[in-house]
């Protein structure tokens, strides 16, 4: 008797007996993410942990993403609290050389322009939310818009505050499009520029002194403190990491931030974000809408950057910008800058734009963090 009871209980607790079609689809999607990461080299550092987290979160019975499951615990510790994206930003700050931006500060404008994708998409999401088939409130719309910032940590930070229910879809969209930069951006860039524009060579950047590099993070943070305190967690962590890097007296800590901290947190953040890929939260029309809106956000951001570069050229007859570098303003560091370089070389093999594109590229990181700060400040007032 006891044997039969045991075997029956055992059998009804197998995966075979508990997998429904939706869960299987989510497991399939997780496998696709792993495939894209491994075979297509799509942001593998994030998409492998996210894909694997999605796999584990969808296992029936095990409850790995539940409150007592191990990924559930990590999620509460690092995502709900906002710690993980901020830790990543400390590491990113320690890895980022703002030299190209300091050497040519006008590039800040391109990093600003590319944020237009965020707000355009916010309006789009609000419009969809006004239809009865999509459940998007203002908080959700803001979180969806931030995909256009092309910055994973910023997107996760904002979504964890505003729209936890769509955090999985938003993070997957953000990292997917960052991985798809080589496919999404070039057609837009080519559509909006003439070959002659793409052939423009830019003047060599000047050397940046050590003192400028040390003062840069403090200045950026100070301006943020004065105007937009809500952006200071993100900007503050980015600039803290950068000061560790540039101060010249904290190499131990800078290296720890660039390696141990960012690697360990990436593993945990990836698994946590992946755990939001649960069938009941992911398989709904909203996810499709988020993926579509994210793509729009990305494209509009790219276009806005290119447009502003062309507009700035009206006033810079002598040393014009190559408008391609505007596309790097979306951030997606350093992939977007690489693509600028590649598209530039397609037009003229002698055209080296990489360093020039790094200015708007890192400005875009600051720009999206500022945009997130604005949303954190005014969305609760208007919602």
């Amino acid at each position: 008797m006891i044997f039969l009871t045991a075997i029956e209980n055992f059998w009804i607790s197998t995966g075979i007996m508990n997998l429904d079609i939706k869960t299987l689809i989510m497991i399939g999607i997780s496998f696709i993410l792993l495939y894209l990461a491994i075979s297509k080299n799509f942001e593998p550092l994030l998409l492998i942990p996210i894909g694997f987290g999605g796999l584990l979160a969808n296992i029936p019975i095990a409850g790995i993403a539940g409150a007592d499951g191990f990924i559930g615990i990590i999620y509460g510790f690092g995502i709900e609290s906002g710690l993980f994206p901020l830790f990543i930003f400390i590491g990113v700050g320690a890895m980022t050389d703002f030299g190209p931006l300091i050497a040519n500060p006008k590039m800040f404008f391109l990093g600003a322009a590319a944020q237009f994708g965020i707000f355009f998409t916010l309006i789009g999401a609000m419009f969809l939310g006004s239809l009865s088939m999509f459940d998007f409130n203002l908080y959700d719309a803001a979180s969806i818009g931030i995909i256009g910032g092309a910055d994973g940590p910023t997107a996760i930070f904002l979504a964890s505050r505003f729209s936890e229910r769509y955090l999985g879809a938003i993070a997957v969209a953000a990292y997917s499009y960052m991985a798809l930069v080589p496919i999404i951006q070039p057609p837009i860039m080519k559509l909006l520029t003439s070959k002659k524009e793409r052939q423009i060579k830019m003047v060599q950047l000047s050397e940046v002194s050590k003192k400028e590099k040390i003062l840069f993070p403090l200045i950026v943070l100070s301006i943020t403190i004065l105007l937009l305190p809500t952006a200071t967690p993100l900007i503050g962590c980015l600039m803290f990491g950068n000061l560790l890097r540039e101060s010249g007296v904290t190499d131990r800590l800078s290296k720890a931030a660039q390696n141990e901290l960012i690697n360990l947190v990436t593993i945990m953040l990836g698994l946590s974000v992946g755990s939001k890929l649960q069938a009941d939260k992911f398989l709904n029309p909203e996810t499709l809408a988020i993926l579509l809106l994210g793509l729009i956000a990305f494209s509009i951001g790219t276009a806005s950057g290119v447009f502003l570069a062309k507009f700035m050229n009206i006033f810079m007859k002598k040393n014009p910008l190559n408008p391609l570098i505007g596309a790097a303003g979306v951030s997606a560091v350093p992939m977007a800058a690489r693509i600028v370089n590649k598209v530039g070389q397609d037009a003229d093999p002698e055209n080296y734009l990489l360093m020039h594109a790094m200015g708007p590229n890192v400005a875009g990181v600051i720009g999206s963090a500022v945009a997130a700060g604005v949303l954190l400040a005014i969305v609760p007032v208007l919602a």
Partner: protein, 61 residues
């Protein structure tokens, strides 16, 4: 719709004002420091650090 446009207007204005201020600040910085010999500080510090590290190394083994 009005809400969305409000957010967009405030958002883009803030982004441009703030990043614009950053441009001014950085330009000011460049003006201040481009005349000075920025190598002096570095060398002095490097030496200090080298001394401290050598001592630490000899001591902590």
């Amino acid at each position: 719709m009005q809400t969305g446009l409000t957010i967009t207007l405030i958002g883009m204005t803030t982004v441009f004002i703030m990043l614009g201020l950053m441009i001014s600040a950085v330009k000011l910085l460049t003006v201040i420091f481009s005349r000075k010999n920025s190598e002096k500080l570095k060398n002095k510090e490097d030496k200090d650090i080298a001394i401290a590290l050598a001592a630490l190394k000899s001591v902590l083994g």
